[in-house]
Symmetry: C2
């Protein structure tokens, strides 16, 4: 495979990144996962908006313009012979010396990688992460930061327990999100809800789109609300997947709900 590093195509196997890059030494940067269908990146405007919001919080000058990103995406897709793909754009604050303060000015690094789109995946059986809690008081819970280790640990815990993903609660024991997706729930009152960003939910691009296009509201969700839901589903840039079990409790009747099933099909064909 080929990736693009600061505008230059290099083989994925090349060692082409500085060992002093603050992305590596401090997790100091951001990333986006972008779905590509038939050569066309989906929701690119929303991804760029979120990247800009994150960059403002981190005070990281973005090193590439929208035009340049679109062109780079084409180049990387072509270099890998991909029409459908999962892209990842990582932006770090670039190389730095000892200590936490960045050099001024800094020279941000950006990396664009492409992988084949993962095959359609079935319903999700999740656990509730025990070791990891989302810190809803951190500005980082609102940005997709390279400092992502909390989610790695929760995902490993899920793997240990034979589950597909982990529900991450915040420090007030409210549902925030999973390690890779936002959560939507049709409550026992029939209302479609998703946790607010203030509860530690990452402002996902598909979440934003669904909140705009459907009758859904942002409302705090307890683990009990989730277990008692009529149905639940998980959304991220790549897919929508029904959530059918949490910690061995069935959600609804334990089968994909009608809304989640429909959105899943739509996402598979978008």
């Amino acid at each position: 495979m080929m990736l693009m590093l600061n505008g230059r195509l290099v083989p994925t196997s090349d060692r082409a990144l500085s060992a002093n890059d603050r992305g590596f030494t401090l997790g100091d940067g951001l990333f986006e996962t972008i779905k590509v269908r038939h050569g066309r990146p989906l929701r690119l405007d929303l991804h760029l908006a979120r990247l800009r919001d994150g960059a403002a919080i981190l005070r990281l000058p973005l090193p590439l313009q929208p035009d340049q990103l679109e062109e780079s995406i084409s180049t990387v897709l072509q270099a890998n012979g991909l029409h459908d793909a999962a892209l990842r754009l990582s932006v770090s604050r670039g190389p730095g010396q000892r200590g936490l303060l960045p050099p001024d000015p800094c020279t941000p690094t950006w990396v664009l990688t492409a992988a084949p789109l993962p095959p359609a995946m079935g319903p999700v059986r999740a656990i509730t992460a025990e070791t990891v809690h989302r810190n809803q008081m951190s500005p980082l819970s609102r940005v997709k930061a390279l400092s992502y280790l909390d989610n790695v640990l929760a995902r490993l815990e899920a793997q240990d327990k034979g589950a597909d993903d982990a529900i991450v609660l915040n420090t007030l024991d409210r549902v925030a999100e999973t390690t890779i997706a936002n959560i939507f729930v049709v409550g026992s009152d029939g209302v479609l809800v998703t946790p607010p960003v203030g509860d530690g939910a990452l402002p996902g691009v598909r979440r934003a789109e669904l909140l705009r296009s459907m009758v859904a509201i942002e409302r705090s969700i307890s683990r009990e609300d989730l277990l008692n839901a009529r149905e639940a589903f998980l959304t991220n840039a790549l897919s929508v997947r029904p959530l059918v079990a949490v910690d061995t409790h069935a959600i609804g009747d334990g089968l994909p709900g009608p809304l989640g099933a429909r959105l899943n099909r739509e996402a598979e064909h978008e």
Copy 2:
């Protein structure tokens, strides 16, 4: 300068790291900052013990043995003509493909860099970080992880306000640590205390040494306790520095306290 990457000496300016390294893409790894005097790394056993503890939490197989580390330290010091130095050892889970689950087996990456020991620095005037809170419920608050962006943001906030460092509170508004150091306080009752690890304090190596060698106890500290302290000081692997002001409030009489001043001198001459 020269650094060591996976046992190989390379110029710091070289781009020698994989852009798919999980240290970069996910902050998936650990680091240690080690002080060197007269060519001798200080507290190496304590650093190695903490690194092993962190690796156990992350389930990251450590890629280098103590012997190899000692030899590598000598090599890096020699290559840079340094006798007194601040070393940084970073260990990541190595290159990975898309997603959170690591490859099995993984091939960890390690990087050893050396910089001249920073000159003796004076007393610290700190702020209390407003935007960032330590998540004492995360296992990551107990390991020195490559996912370090929270601390970068708090340090930037301190810089904005003309301060030297930021006190980071936990989600219960207790004092955890600063962005780079543990906090010790001589309370109004004359007892020397430092926040417990359960409050989000990183188990620092100098902190461990002081807890062993002095009459000090672990006890939760509120911001008010800190402001009312007789004296306070900050410790990390490189130094001990008196803390003389927090948010424009003087600590004690606003001058270095006797204990902090003595430990500062001892650290400068260790």
